[in-house]
Symmetry: C2
Subunit: 335 residues, 2 copies
């Protein structure tokens, strides 16, 4: 049967089927201008030899048939449905998916994007890249690019993001309705919430500040690293401080989980301190967790990003900036 390695080349197939390499190439690509007779002979030889085209060689010629996905922090469960959706869409095309992971979003995603272009991928979906916009524009000049999760305005690349303004509005309305006044916001570092970054955290923070301002309340922002452990430590500090908040809006579920653990650690319950998250990862609905959270519809975000990239590769040139609707899932003590 077929050997996994690509030892069998197009020339081998050509020799066996008695045609030219170019002809084989045409058959393989389903290109125009091949007789049915030739198709059959060539396909028979391909089958017989177990031929598989070398993507590496194709990539060098310019058309790599591979779509690259840049992805930091694979650990974030929110990205799983996003990637699944991307793959579903791409599966129906002639492209394949390769993921260039980066360990930390900050300053590493850039390297992953470079790796991808070094591989001559046909186009790239970058998931929440923490990268300077100018650099991304420059990158997009040479490579079809879709940014997922950052609401940047650019005519060099397409953008798909969740409706953070609306999501945050829903969260704050929900908490106000339940009578909360001392509401703290737990988010990431200043760098991550830089308004110019277009990051979701920036928009959530902005929405929180606006809502508190409109309500005439004092905003209280705590900052933590991305990990649950870091959020836990910050959360303990926050809850031990004076004027303990009655509710905490965490900028994502990982932070919310850390916060929940801090609540528990101090012998409090979510009746004392309500916690709301963002992302609605699968375990938010777990009994015993029951975290109120905003579902970002990652599946739809991934699908749209893939569709946009494919249409770019198909020739579209006008940029698209798309916002996906979100929905608060109320649970547990704040339901």
């Amino acid at each position: 049967m077929s050997t996994p390695s690509s030892r069998v080349t197009l020339r081998d197939v050509a020799r066996v089927s008695g045609v030219s390499p170019a002809a084989v190439s045409k058959v393989v690509r389903g290109a125009y201008g091949v007789s049915e007779q030739m198709r059959q002979r060539v396909n028979a030889a391909i089958e017989e030899l177990g031929y598989r085209p070398s993507i590496a060689a194709r990539a060098m010629r310019g058309s790599s048939s591979t779509i690259g996905v840049e992805l930091a922090s694979l650990g974030n469960p929110f990205f799983a449905p996003v990637l699944d959706a991307v793959m579903s869409v791409v599966d129906d095309s002639r492209y394949q998916v390769m993921v260039a992971p980066s360990q930390s979003p900050e300053r590493e995603g850039q390297r992953s994007l470079e790796t991808l272009s070094d591989h001559n991928v046909a186009g790239v979906i970058a998931v929440s890249p923490v990268i300077d916009q100018a650099w991304l524009e420059e990158y997009a000049r040479a490579m079809p690019l879709v940014i997922l999760g950052r609401d940047l305005a650019s005519d060099a690349f397409d953008v798909v993001s969740g409706d953070d303004a609306d999501g945050t509005r829903q969260v704050m309305a929900h908490l106000f309705e339940r009578g909360h006044r001392r509401i703290a916001h737990l988010t990431r570092s200043e760098q991550v919430t830089d308004p110019a970054s277009g990051s979701p955290h920036a928009r959530r923070l902005a929405g929180y500040l606006r809502a508190m301002d409109v309500a005439g309340l004092e905003a209280r922002v705590s900052r933590s690293g991305p990990r649950e452990e870091e959020a836990f430590a910050v959360g303990v500090d926050l809850l031990r401080g004076r004027e303990r908040p009655t509710a905490v809006f965490a900028a994502n579920d990982a932070l919310a989980f850390g916060m929940l653990r801090a609540v528990d650690h101090l012998g409090l319950t979510t009746r004392d301190v309500a916690v709301v998250g963002y992302d609605d990862v699968p375990l938010a609905r777990q009994p015993g967790v029951s975290l109120t959270s905003v579902n970002q519809n990652g599946e739809q975000m991934g699908r749209r990003a893939a569709e946009l990239l494919l249409s770019r590769l198909d020739g579209r040139t006008d940029p698209v900036r798309e916002v996906v609707p979100v929905r608060l899932e109320a649970r547990g003590s704040t339901a």
Copy 2:
């Protein structure tokens, strides 16, 4: 500044620095036999032009400097530390990491592995691939391969797996100690627990059956799909049946979470039905969840897999089969 696209070629660098392409190639690769003077001139030109070698072209020549990781179900949080560790190790080498994701483990991983070899990667780490051993052997004949998470015996590839026999022993001892006698096992489909597959689920099931047999107890095995929702449904059935078990050993945490939700759904608590999982994903320790689980040390598994692959690429030929120790983390109602 540097353009992300690889428009600048080695020839351009050669022209600017006034040397031959071959010379530039040597400098770039740090190959033997280049004068200090030449190094400097070439490096200056590289800097000036923002040159980046094309991986695609390199790959075609045979030496791709890329390590491929085959990964099904990115959603499984157990894999995050595994991949992180792989990346950490690879970062210190001249290689890069590319991930070929597959949506469903069954029969899709094969395609991902083929994609990887079509890309001419230098070597591959396959994470828990549900693939026929003969096929893997064939594959490994053409490509350095490390299997992570399946305990297969082969001299064609290297193997790293967790010590499931010991992990299961710890789980069962723990439950027996707490007086449980009616202990059910929740696992995946028959296909996945096929003993010949070397899958972790097969070994956990075997360990469970052995332990029950030795204790003179009746084994009760329930089967479910991989997702939490499916485990929930099966769990509800199991708990509604006659002779409700007092404890359930779930073959991994996703199944355990479904089981926990089933317990809750039926108005029971983990005092009525104890649940133990396997993988010790981060949220197992979450207050309100407090799932007793076996920590598989994914970080160590990933690190060893990467080290083994690098040493293969460095010329090692004798196969290695390595087992990583595991540890039960007792929590909550079974602690």
